[in-house]
């Protein structure tokens, strides 16, 4: 990092990367700016995975304490938001390890299917053609939850198992069934 980059003023204009570098240097001002910028959407996204606001608050707190301790590990490439979410979702898994998950909300509306799918989602799911959004929407809620946890949240099988409160073997079989269902439908 060059000296000019380090001298970035700590205000609302600073990039997430610059703020994280300042946090790594021990700036609580930068940590607060980062918190003000990211706490709301992280809270909303966590709330979709955990119905208990007390757990969500605790996870949000743990996340930013972890950011404080580990800001130096942010590689500087890639979205800082993705890095933050990676920490938050794992803190949530940890919170569920301490106590059984209250609920991993799965809704059954399949009406509005406007999935903005990305190429990497397709690769991860092993499907390349067809109406992915529609096919995902027609998966059973259990299968969809597994796809969401592993593909979209990027969790390992074991982490997904903790999040969903089912054995790891079940996550594997559900993921296999989900893949098979998607391929069959999109073939």
């Amino acid at each position: 990092m060059s000296p000019t980059e380090k001298a970035v003023t700590m205000d609302d204009q600073a990039t997430d990367g610059a703020l994280l570098a300042a946090v790594a240097d021990g700036s609580t001002t930068a940590l607060e700016l980062l918190y003000r910028r990211h706490a709301s959407w992280l809270t909303v996204r966590l709330t979709r995975r955990c119905a208990d606001p007390a757990i969500v608050d605790e996870v949000l707190q743990d996340t930013f304490v972890a950011v404080w301790k580990g800001a130096g590990r942010y590689a500087g490439d890639g979205e800082a938001a993705a890095w933050l979410w990676g920490i938050a979702i794992r803190r949530l898994v940890d919170a569920f390890r301490k106590r059984p998950p209250a609920a991993y909300p799965i809704d059954d509306h399949v009406g509005d299917l406007q999935l903005m799918e990305s190429a990497e989602d397709r690769v991860l799911l092993g499907v390349e053609h067809g109406d992915l959004a529609g096919a995902l929407g027609r998966l059973s809620p259990e299968l969809r939850a597994v796809v969401q946890a592993t593909v979209l949240d990027g969790l390992t099988t074991r982490e997904a198992a903790r999040l969903l409160g089912v054995p790891a073997g079940t996550v594997k079989t559900r993921m296999m069934r989900a893949r098979r269902a998607l391929r069959k439908e999109l073939a």
Binding site: S40, V44, R48, L115, M116, R144, L152
Partner: protein
């Protein structure tokens, strides 16, 4: 990956935040949010500002608390409850000054033992007392900056005593055990201190169920010294503390103290379960 000019409408942001949109649509919202600062900002009104302030206060409190010591982190890693770990780590006898004191006393005792045939008595008298003084020192209000925290934690003094005693004794026995083999003479001498040491610390624990811990510790240490100090006199047997009568006496004292503790085991196990 800049695939689209797709952005969240105010309705969609609202629907996503309130959990009304389907999980499939939510998934695409989430993929988009990672890359789009403007759309992330749309969610800000959905979360109560006061709630976020509360969480922030917790964050900053954690961040500004002095980093925990290595000992505290090690204890936490072993599954010790956070409060217990902090209190153990804050035990005065575990600070550098105390450890240094133990090392200096032991070194002097070993050197004295080499210089003079009688010096061995000094080592045998002091070694068993060190862990006990450590325990007493760990609890005296005068030497205890965390005394108020200790009094305010939901642990009984007895539980705290048990935890701290275990740690203090372990941390004092190690330097003593390291020093012992450097003693001149019979190999037996290098372990002769162990039984009195165990008897004295167990005795302190047992007495502490009735007495203030630092009184119990100092009292027992004084009693022990009164018994073995005659060994320091040139006309007496320097190995008094290592002789059979003193060892048997220590064994008996250990048995009695252990018996008292066993009689209290219900209380003790209750106390441990509560913090497990």
């Amino acid at each position: 990956m800049t695939t689209t000019e797709w952005h969240l409408s105010a309705d969609l942001a609202q629907g996503y935040a309130s959990g009304e949109v389907s999980s499939v649509l939510a998934a695409s919202v989430e993929q988009h949010l990672i890359r789009c600062t403007a759309c992330r900002a749309l969610l800000a009104p959905s979360v109560d500002r006061a709630r976020l302030d509360r969480v922030w206060d917790e964050v900053i409190e954690h961040v500004e608390t002095p980093r925990s010591t290595m000992l505290e982190r090690a204890l936490r890693g072993l599954g010790v409850a956070e409060g217990t770990a902090r209190l153990v780590a804050a035990t005065p006898s575990l600070r550098g000054a105390w450890s240094l004191g133990v090392v200096v006393v032991l070194t002097l005792a070993v050197l004295t033992a080499h210089a003079d045939g009688h010096g061995i008595a000094l080592f045998l008298a002091l070694a068993p007392v060190l862990p006990v003084i450590g325990v007493a020192y760990a609890f005296g209000p005068a030497t205890e900056p965390t005394h108020e925290i200790a009094s305010a934690t939901p642990y009984s003094a007895l539980h705290l005593l048990a935890v701290r005693t275990a740690v203090v004794v372990a941390s004092t026995l190690v330097p003593v055990a390291v020093a012992a083999p450097f003693l001149p003479g019979n190999a037996w001498l290098s372990v002769a201190w162990l039984l009195p040491a165990l008897a004295l610390t167990t005795g302190t624990l047992a007495l502490a169920t009735r007495l203030a811990p630092h009184l119990a510790g100092t009292g027992l240490a004084a009693a022990w010294l009164a018994m073995v100090v005659p060994g320091l006199a040139p006309s007496h047997d320097p190995l008094l503390a290592a002789e059979l009568p003193m060892q048997l006496f220590s064994l008996a004292a250990l048995a009695v103290s252990a018996g008292v503790l066993l009689a209290q085991r219900h209380d003790l196990s209750e106390l441990f379960r509560r913090t497990a």
